[in-house]
C-alpha cells in the first residue's frame, strides 16, 4: 500500500486496487466474522438442534469484491488506530470531551480510505473532524428527523439511502462496499468508516459533475447536498464548516 500523506505525481494514474489493505484480517474477497454463538439445525445426534461456538473466521464476500462488515471494522479499529498518524487537532472547541473523543477513529479511517483510493490530495483528518462537528456536534446517536428513520444518522449523518448504496454490490459502487445496518450507524467507528467511504464516492460524483478532480471543499459541498439549494445560502453553510476546519488546522496557533 502506498503512503499517501503527500500528493502523488501519479495520482491520476489510478487503478481499482485489488490488493488487500494491510490492516485487513482476511485475504481479498473475504471478510472477518468474529467468534459467535451459533445454532446448529437438528440432526440425528441432536434431534432438537444445539448451540455451538463458531470461532472467528474469514467468510467469502458474495461478489468476490472487497467489503467491510461491522465485526472487521471494530477489529481494525481496536488493533490499529491507537498509534495512527496524523491525528486531527485534539481541540475540543467547546464541544466538551466528545469534541476529541473520536480523534483516533477519525485518524484511522481517514488513513484507511486514503490508502485505498490514493486521492491526488489526501483527505485531511481535520476536515473529517470539522465535518462531524458541523453535521452532528459529535453526538453518535443523533437522528436528523424524528419523523423519518431514514434520515441522517450518527456522527457523519449517514442517510439510509447512502447506507443502501454502500451495501449494494450490484449498484452504484464498483468495489469497497460497507455492509452495515441502520442500527450499526450509531456505532462511532462504523459510522465514520461508512461516512468517509461515502465522502470518497461524493468526490467521484462531484468530479464527474465539475469536469475536473473535485477538491475536498467541493466534495463537502456535494456531501451536504448544497448543490441543490440557492448558492448564496449554500455558501453561508459552507462557511460554517470552513470556519471549523480552519480552527482545527490552526490547532490553537495564532
Amino acid at each position: 500500500m502506498r503512503n499517501n500523506n503527500a500528493a502523488s505525481e501519479n495520482c491520476h494514474d489510478k487503478k481499482d486496487k485489488e490488493e488487500v489493505h494491510p490492516w485487513r484480517l482476511c485475504p481479498a474477497g473475504e471478510h472477518w466474522v468474529c467468534t459467535h454463538q451459533m445454532h446448529v439445525p437438528p440432526s440425528k445426534s441432536f434431534p432438537e438442534g444445539h448451540e455451538t461456538i463458531r470461532h472467528g473466521h474469514c467468510a467469502r464476500n458474495p461478489s468476490g469484491k472487497d467489503a467491510l462488515y461491522p465485526d472487521e471494522i471494530k477489529e481494525i479499529d481496536e488493533q490499529h488506530f491507537a498509534n495512527v498518524e496524523p491525528k486531527p487537532c485534539p481541540l475540543e472547541l467547546k464541544f466538551g470531551k466528545r469534541g476529541s473523543q473520536y480523534d483516533d477513529l477519525i485518524a484511522g479511517w481517514t488513513k484507511y480510505w486514503n490508502d485505498i483510493f490514493s486521492p491526488c490530495e489526501s483527505l485531511d483528518p481535520n476536515l473529517v473532524k470539522a465535518l462531524i462537528a458541523s453535521e452532528s456536534h459529535f453526538d453518535p446517536n443523533i437522528l436528523a428527523n424524528k419523523k423519518n428513520p431514514k434520515s441522517g444518522r450518527g456522527l457523519m449523518q449517514v442517510l439510509d439511502s447512502t447506507r443502501m448504496i454502500l451495501n449494494n454490490e450490484n449498484g452504484e459502487l464498483k468495489n469497497h462496499f460497507v455492509h452495515v445496518t441502520r442500527a450499526d450507524l450509531n456505532n462511532p467507528s462504523i459510522n465514520i468508516c461508512a461516512g468517509i467511504r461515502w465522502l470518497f464516492q461524493k468526490q467521484k460524483l462531484a468530479s464527474s459533475k465539475l469536469g475536473h478532480e473535485a477538491n475536498w471543499e467541493e466534495t463537502i459541498y456535494e456531501f451536504k447536498g448544497l448543490s441543490t439549494v440557492p448558492k448564496e445560502r449554500a455558501e453561508k453553510l459552507l462557511k460554517k464548516f470552513k470556519d471549523l476546519h480552519e480552527l482545527y488546522k490552526k490547532c490553537g496557533k495564532k
Binding site: L93, K94, F95, G96, K97, R98, G99, Q101, A133, S134, E135, H137, D139, N141, I142, L143, A144, N145, K146, K147, N148, S151, G152, Q157, L159, S161, T162, K224, G225, L226, S227, T228, V229, P230, R233, A234, K236, L237, K239, K240, D243, L244, L247
Partner: protein, 201 residues
C-alpha cells in the same frame, strides 16, 4: 359608594399588573442567572430552564460574540408576526430520491434580520412538515423562540444587517420542534451523557 368600588378595582388592577410584571421579571432573571449566556434578549415567557440546559449539553456555554462561536446554540425570541419559515430551493437530489431544499427561518428584530438554515439540504417533504409544524405552533402565539449556533453577519444589498445561524429548534408556548430527534428533550441529553461531556468541573 361607586367611587370606592372603582378605586378598589383600579388598585386591584395595579397590583395585578405589578404582580405580573414582577413574575415576568423574576422568570427572566431566573433564566439568566442560571444560564447567563444562553439567551440573547427577552424570552417573553416562552422558555424554561430545561430549554436553556439542553443547549449547555450540546456545547460549552460562552458569551455570544460575532468573532468566535463554534458550536454553542443561542436562543433568541421574536415577534411571531415578524418571523416566517420557508423551503429555499427545489432541485432533485439522488440522496433523497426526491427534491431537496434548504429549510430557512427568517425573523426580524430591532431593525436587524436573522436567518436560520438547516445544517444541510433536507428532503423537500421534510421541510414541508416543518412548515406545517411551524404553522401549528405559532398560530395565535405572540412570540416564537429560535435556537442555533451563529455563522456570521453581513449587510445585504439594501444595507440591512443580516445575522446567519444554523437552525437547531424553535419553540412557542404551545411546544417545541427540533431539527434533531429529541432535540427538545433534556432527558435525552442527560441519558446520552452529553451534559457530562460539556460541564466544567
Amino acid at each position: 359608594m361607586w367611587k370606592k368600588v372603582v378605586i378598589y378595582l383600579l388598585l386591584w388592577w395595579d397590583v395585578f399588573s405589578l404582580n405580573k410584571l414582577f413574575a415576568v421579571t423574576m422568570h427572566l432573571e431566573t433564566l439568566t442567572s442560571k444560564f447567563p449566556y444562553a439567551l440573547i434578549g427577552d424570552d417573553f415567557g416562552v422558555l424554561s430552564l430545561d430549554d436553556l440546559a439542553i443547549n449547555s449539553c450540546i456545547a460549552e456555554p460562552s458569551a455570544f460574540t460575532i468573532k468566535d462561536s463554534p458550536g454553542y446554540p443561542y436562543w433568541q425570541c421574536f415577534d411571531a408576526r415578524k418571523a416566517r419559515i420557508f423551503c429555499s430551493g427545489h432541485k432533485y437530489s439522488e440522496d433523497y430520491n426526491n427534491f431537496s431544499t434548504l429549510l430557512v427561518i427568517a425573523a426580524e428584530k430591532n431593525g436587524f434580520r436573522h436567518e436560520y438554515y438547516s445544517r444541510r439540504a433536507v428532503d423537500y417533504d421534510v421541510c414541508k412538515e416543518f412548515v406545517s409544524d411551524w404553522e401549528n405552533l405559532t398560530k395565535n402565539e405572540k412570540y416564537v423562540c429560535l435556537s442555533g449556533p451563529y455563522i456570521e453577519q453581513e449587510k445585504d444589498k439594501n444595507g440591512i444587517m443580516v445575522s446567519y445561524w444554523i437552525f437547531d429548534k424553535f419553540k412557542t408556548k404551545k411546544g417545541c420542534m427540533p431539527y434533531f430527534q429529541y432535540g427538545c428533550s433534556l432527558a435525552y441529553q442527560l441519558k446520552s451523557g452529553a451534559c457530562n461531556s460539556t460541564s466544567k468541573k
